[in-house]
């Protein structure tokens, strides 16, 4: 039994055990769940650098199901397990005083196990099976919170069924064409297939992965799902689960279709596909980022950013040069880190304020919940890509690729997206943590320890990967090389390459020195007295309690300008479609009138019609 099999077995068995332990006592179940997740993290870490493939099950319709591990799988597995473990720790206190904690933990572990299965699966059949398990367990978790969550879950599962069906067609078709589903074999066979075949294949799989990764026309499930899922799971969902789409794209494009080789060779359809994908990515960056600006619900705002950031990954990944690819993959990791951090901070705030997410009713919580505030601060810095945070490095790589690759318009989309991000996330930070503290939150307590730990860990990770991006980039470089692209020369502090190098360490040094200088300067000269939030300039009148805050309609002038152009067109379209199908079904139902005479008439009509057709045209 090889390492991968052990990991998967442990993951699924852990999920099962958690259920039974949770039946006896929920706290024990939660503790066990966290233990399992940590153990999985350790196991996956041990797998570092191993590359092999192993058949683990032959019992399925004569198709050997195999698992494989290489740098790509390891990278994604590592990120998945670490983030899942942190979310598990976070959920300890978040889920404590709720019902069905056992169910929650079990499903969390099940989702995690399924994700591991997806990244480790060595053939498309097991890929699909794990993918489906992932989908339905996610559906159960999204609906977990009842209320709106039910509709969100239904939306999610229906859309992901659409994707799965497309993938199923693709898989069956591959099986028909090549007679095998083993990824390694297919990676030799597919590049030899004709352009049209490749295109159909990429489209079919693209639908599935596009839906999972919420690429623009297929994104509508995401905002509701992120908003309604319980926050610890929203972290998992936004962090890695959604990014399984990116993994899928990497798998189908670079592992199987060998895009790295064919991307710049004529006669292949992959380049056109990638161009379209890149433009979709650009749209996915711009539009959701601006929609996020108009949101008033903290989680929904972040959810729209989840869509937008996915665009960066798609963009870097689809552009397909070594650095773009590395940037895309690195951005996947970075995004996972900071979005999980942000959702955790929001979760902490919800946990303490009794589930308040409304950006217009919060404020000034930085004084009360410093750790959550630090988390949010680091998170949005990463999201914006402030220098010396991890988001900056990956975005820098993507921009650089686009600009030097002669795609300034895509680069423009990416850059303007970042600036839109600044507006909305500052609104988020300000309305939740800055400004005046409403009197009803006077005695909000600081977030519990089990929430502080993951928040601090992730905040640290953001800085670490921002200042020493070489750590993950070494691994990512391995992935890029495994795709058959030249290695980037990665140093610990960034990337040294022709026409524009990045060196985060001296940037860091300079900023640190600058800060120290200014700090000294202030300490020498500045003597300041601490005053409370009531001592504020208010034109001489006393500060009116709870009414002296500017949060609602934060960007009103801009809002009034752009909101007419930022309707979520597709969501309305899909809803209309669903309604149309519903009424169509109602109409079809009327076939069964309930009158037995007409029923008998159907039978006779069928027979007579058949005979009539036969006698008239004689088709048979």
């Amino acid at each position: 039994m090889t390492g991968v099999e052990i990991i998967l077995a442990a993951a699924f068995a852990g999920a099962l055990l958690t259920w039974f332990i949770g039946r006896t006592s929920s706290t024990a179940g939660s503790a066990f769940a966290v233990a399992v997740l940590l153990a999985l993290t350790a196991l996956v870490a041990l797998l570092h650098g191993r590359v092999y493939e192993t058949v683990f099950y032959r019992g399925f319709l004569g198709l050997p199901m195999s698992l494989r591990t290489d740098s790509l799988s390891w990278f994604f597995a590592m990120a998945t397990t670490v983030l899942a473990a942190l979310s598990g720790i976070f959920s300890l206190s978040y889920m404590k005083d709720r019902k069905n904690t056992g169910f929650f933990n079990t499903m969390l572990l099940l989702v995690n196990a399924a994700m591991l299965g997806v990244v480790f699966s060595g053939d498309l059949l097991s890929f699909f099976i794990f993918w489906e398990i992932m989908s339905w367990s996610t559906f159960l978790l999204i609906s977990f919170n009842r209320g709106q969550g039910v509709n969100a879950g239904l939306k999610y599962i229906v859309m992901s069924l659409v994707g799965s069906m497309a993938m199923l067609v693709g898989i069956g078709w591959l099986l028909g064409a090549f007679g095998t589903l083993n990824i390694a074999r297919l990676s030799e066979l597919i590049p030899s297939a004709s352009g049209g075949h490749q295109l159909v294949l990429l489209l079919l799989f693209g639908i599935a992965f596009g839906i999972k990764n919420a690429v623009m026309p297929l994104h509508t499930w995401l905002p509701d799902a992120y908003t309604e899922a319980p926050s610890p799971f929203t972290a998992v969902l936004s962090g890695m689960l959604t990014r399984m789409g990116i993994f899928g794209f990497l798998l189908i494009l670079y592992v199987m279709a060998g895009a790295a080789r064919v991307l710049h060779s004529p006669g292949s359809t992959v380049p056109t596909y990638n161009v379209v994908l890149a433009w979709l990515g650009a749209v996915t960056i711009v539009v959701p980022t601006f929609i996020a600006m108009l949101q008033n619900d903290a989680k929904r705002l972040l959810a729209w950013h989840g869509i937008g950031q996915g665009g960066y990954m798609i963009l870097g990944m689809a552009f397909g040069t070594g650095m773009g690819l590395a940037g895309g993959i690195f951005h996947t990791l970075n995004h996972a880190i900071y979005i999980v951090l942000l959702f955790m901070s929001v979760g902490a705030v919800q946990h303490r304020t009794g589930g308040v997410r409304d950006l217009n009713s919060l404020g000034g919580l930085a004084r009360k919940m410093p750790v959550a505030f630090i988390g949010a601060l680091m998170g949005i810095s990463g999201l914006i890509g402030v220098p010396l945070t991890n988001g900056f490095v990956s975005k820098w790589m993507i921009y650089r690729t686009l600009i030097l690759g002669g795609a300034p318009f895509l680069a423009f989309a990416a850059l303007i997206g970042s600036w839109g991000t600044i507006l909305s996330v500052y609104k988020f930070l300000h309305n939740v943590f800055l400004g005046q503290l409403p009197s009803k939150y006077e005695n909000v307590r600081s977030s519990p320890v089990s929430m502080k730990i993951p928040i601090l860990v992730l905040s640290f990770a953001i800085l670490l990967f921002g200042i020493l991006p070489g750590l993950p980039l070494k691994v990512i470089d391995g992935i890029v090389v495994s795709f058959g692209l030249p290695s980037l020369d990665v140093s610990l502090w960034g990337i040294a390459s022709e026409a524009g190098t990045l060196n985060t360490v001296n940037l860091f040094a300079a900023l640190a020195v600058g800060v120290l200088v200014v700090l000294a300067f202030v300490r020498i000269l500045g003597r300041s007295e601490r005053v409370g939030q009531d001592s504020n300039y208010s034109a001489g009148c006393g500060v009116p309690r709870d009414r002296y805050n500017y949060t609602a309609r934060y960007y009103d002038p801009l809002f009034r300008m752009i909101s007419p152009y930022l309707k979520d067109f597709f969501s309305t379209l899909y809803d209309g479609l669903a309604r149309g199908i519903g009424s169509l079904c109602e109409a079809v139902r009327m076939i069964y009138t309930g009158y037995v005479s007409s029923y008998v008439m159907y039978i006779l009509l069928f027979i007579s019609a058949m005979i009539f057709i036969h006698l008239t045209w004689n088709p048979w």
Partner: protein, 185 residues
């Protein structure tokens, strides 16, 4: 800039800074404010003295109370004065802030402003002309030179008394004391 100026700059830059950059809060309740716009615009150009109107008391170090002070505006005056960073100078402009002026027997005007906040100088007259403001400014300079513009120190020193007066004038004073009361008499 002549030599002794330079010497002064070198020996006490802070004091010179306070002298030559007087950013003023104009308290625009009374008719006196009529005189301020000409004084800060092209006709008299207060900026050449370094006097600049400032929007927020946090930026300012000169407080110009132009016109009568009613009980209602007193609270605003006190709060504004409290919010100005030290060292700060308060100047009453016109006869009303001094002794109520033509409202001397009104039940609703403050006759002795300096019972509530320390005043470093008065500009008499009804109305004083803009030149009077500049006279006041130059006087203020000399006072600052001689360390006699010490209103803010007195305020700290006798805060308890000032606070008592303020509370007497404004029953139900709804903001915390600026300084610890027990330290001062």
């Amino acid at each position: 800039m002549d030599r002794n100026q330079l010497v002064k700059w070198l020996e006490s830059p802070a004091k010179m800074g306070h002298k030559y950059s007087l950013h003023a809060v104009y308290f625009c309740t009374g008719c006196g404010i009529i005189e301020v716009p000409p004084s800060i615009t092209a006709r008299w150009d207060a900026e050449r003295f370094g006097v600049l109107p400032s929007a927020s008391p946090r930026h300012a170090n000169l407080f110009l109370i132009t016109g009568y002070v009613s009980v209602k505006t007193l609270r605003a005056i006190i709060q504004t004065y409290d919010q100005m960073p030290e060292p700060k100078y308060a100047v009453g402009f016109g006869s009303c802030p001094i002794n109520g002026g033509m409202y001397w027997d009104s039940y609703n005007t403050i006759k002795h402003l300096d019972k509530y906040i320390p005043i470093d100088g008065w500009i008499a007259g009804c109305m004083p002309r803009p030149e009077a403001i500049f006279v006041a400014v130059t006087h203020l300079w000399t006072l600052i030179d001689k360390d006699m513009a010490d209103g803010y120190k007195r305020y700290r020193k006798h805060y308890a008394a000032y606070r008592a007066n303020q509370e007497k004038a404004l029953p139900g004073l709804d903001w915390p004391p600026l300084f610890p009361l027990e330290g001062s008499e």
